[in-house]
């Protein structure tokens, strides 16, 4: 499929009464839709615009050692944690944001019950927005970084009590 063919398909649609056209050739699928604003993908209530860009990234969750959790935590700039508390750490260097946009409410607060896969924050690096999801279900007991601060790779961000 080359660009001329793509153009011909688009022209064909625009000059016709057809509303939507889908062509598959040589493993390439082209879908052209005329009706403004109508998406071919059903938008469900869980995909409202404010939530659409909530995308998870891989997160390493590090169990905090029960005995010397304090030391281990301090070594990484975290506060001591007890048994049954999982630390969510940053997978990258970037700026930590607690909300999806500057006007939006934070994803979570201390005390929020979260489920595995729920978004916790965004880390921005060079305007690439990386949504960080919780690796575990539990209750947020500590938020270790202030909104807008730089975080390093592996830096603890949240502590989640799993029991």
């Amino acid at each position: 499929m080359n660009l001329k063919e793509v153009k011909e398909i688009i022209n064909l649609l625009q000059n016709s009464d057809i509303d939507e056209l889908e062509i598959e050739r040589e493993g390439v699928r082209i879908r052209v839709k005329k009706t403004p604003g109508v998406q071919h993908v059903p938008i469900t209530s869980t995909n409202l615009p404010s939530q659409i860009f909530q995308q998870p990234v891989p997160v390493t969750s590090v169990p905090v050692a029960p005995q010397n959790g304090g030391q281990a935590g301090q070594a990484q700039g975290a506060v001591p944690a007890e048994k049954g508390v999982i630390q969510i750490v940053s997978p990258m260097v970037g700026t930590f944001y607690r909300a999806p946009s500057s006007e939006a409410e934070p994803y979570v607060e201390v005390g929020t019950e979260v489920t595995k896969g729920q978004p916790l924050c965004i880390i921005e690096a060079m305007k690439m927005m990386n949504e960080i999801e919780s690796e575990v279900s539990g209750k947020i007991v500590r938020i270790l970084v202030e909104n807008g601060q730089t975080v390093e790779f592996g830096q603890p961000l949240f502590q989640v009590e799993t029991q």
Binding site: Q55, T95, M126, M128
Partner: protein, 253 residues
């Protein structure tokens, strides 16, 4: 006939109008869309920039987003990929419109010091699938100069305004070709092979700047001196300290 190597583009979704190509492409990526899924719209009514900023995207401009699924191992440098996409846009604009544009770190495309376009990217991992990157590109191509809203009229520029109207599809095809080429290099050898060209194409280096929201540094002023191997902007602050920043809004002063 234009023949481009865009074989990596597998699934093309064209619309006359969408709220945002990026939001739809993200949704598709989340639902498992394959690498090479492309969303293009003649106009967007809720085009977005960084952190919820809106992006003026009328008919006439070029607005599209695509899904990539990089293999494991480039997570650490994935943000620098943004700069690689910027480079691809610049190469394509040069070839199709015959105009030299520059990258304003990290993601604006400038022409004559005014904003010609921008790039956004969202990254993540589906529950089962590999990491994905959804990149969105917006370029003021055939937008009349007087169509810009008053608040951006002095800072934005279009190819049409420069007397260089283009065929949007041709420019998009060329950008996708350049991106595919850059992507292959990037996933194999990382950011280093393109760093020299990114630096050469960077509007920001050498400029006196103020950066808002530069992480722990808050707002800093100084002179941009370099781009690091990780893609960060190296800044010599007014206090004489050399720092590397990974986010923030850059203003020329």
């Amino acid at each position: 006939m234009i023949n481009l190597d865009v074989s990596w583009v597998k699934n093309i979704n064209c619309f006359q109008e969408l709220p945002s190509t990026q939001d739809l492409a993200l949704q598709l990526a989340k639902e498992g869309a394959e690498e090479g899924t492309l969303v293009v719209s003649e106009a967007q009514n809720s085009g977005r920039g960084r952190r919820g900023n809106s992006w003026f995207s009328p008919k006439g401009g070029l607005w599209f987003s695509f899904v990539l699924r990089p293999a494991a191992g480039i997570e650490g440098s994935v943000a620098a990929f943004n700069l690689g996409i910027g480079l691809s846009v610049i190469r394509a604009v040069k070839k199709i419109a015959g105009i030299g544009a520059l990258i304003k770190w990290p993601n604006d495309i400038l022409c004559g010091g005014k904003k010609l376009g921008g790039i956004i990217a969202d990254a993540g991992t589906g529950k089962e699938g590999p990491a994905y990157v959804v990149a969105g590109i917006g370029i003021n191509t055939n937008v009349p100069a007087d169509a810009f809203p008053p608040q951006i009229r002095d800072t934005a520029v279009s190819l049409q305004g420069l007397g260089r109207s283009v065929d949007n599809l041709e420019l998009m095809g060329r950008i996708l070709e350049e991106t595919g080429r850059m992507y292959r290099v990037f996933t194999r050898d990382g950011f280093s092979p393109i760093l020299a060209e990114v630096k050469k194409s960077c509007y920001t280096i050498g400029k006196k700047i103020r950066v808002f929201g530069a992480g722990n540094y808050g707002t800093v002023t100084g002179r941009a001196v370099d781009i690091s191997r990780k893609g960060g902007l190296v800044l010599k602050t007014d206090a004489g300290e050399v720092i590397e920043i990974f986010s923030g809004n850059v203003e020329m002063i």
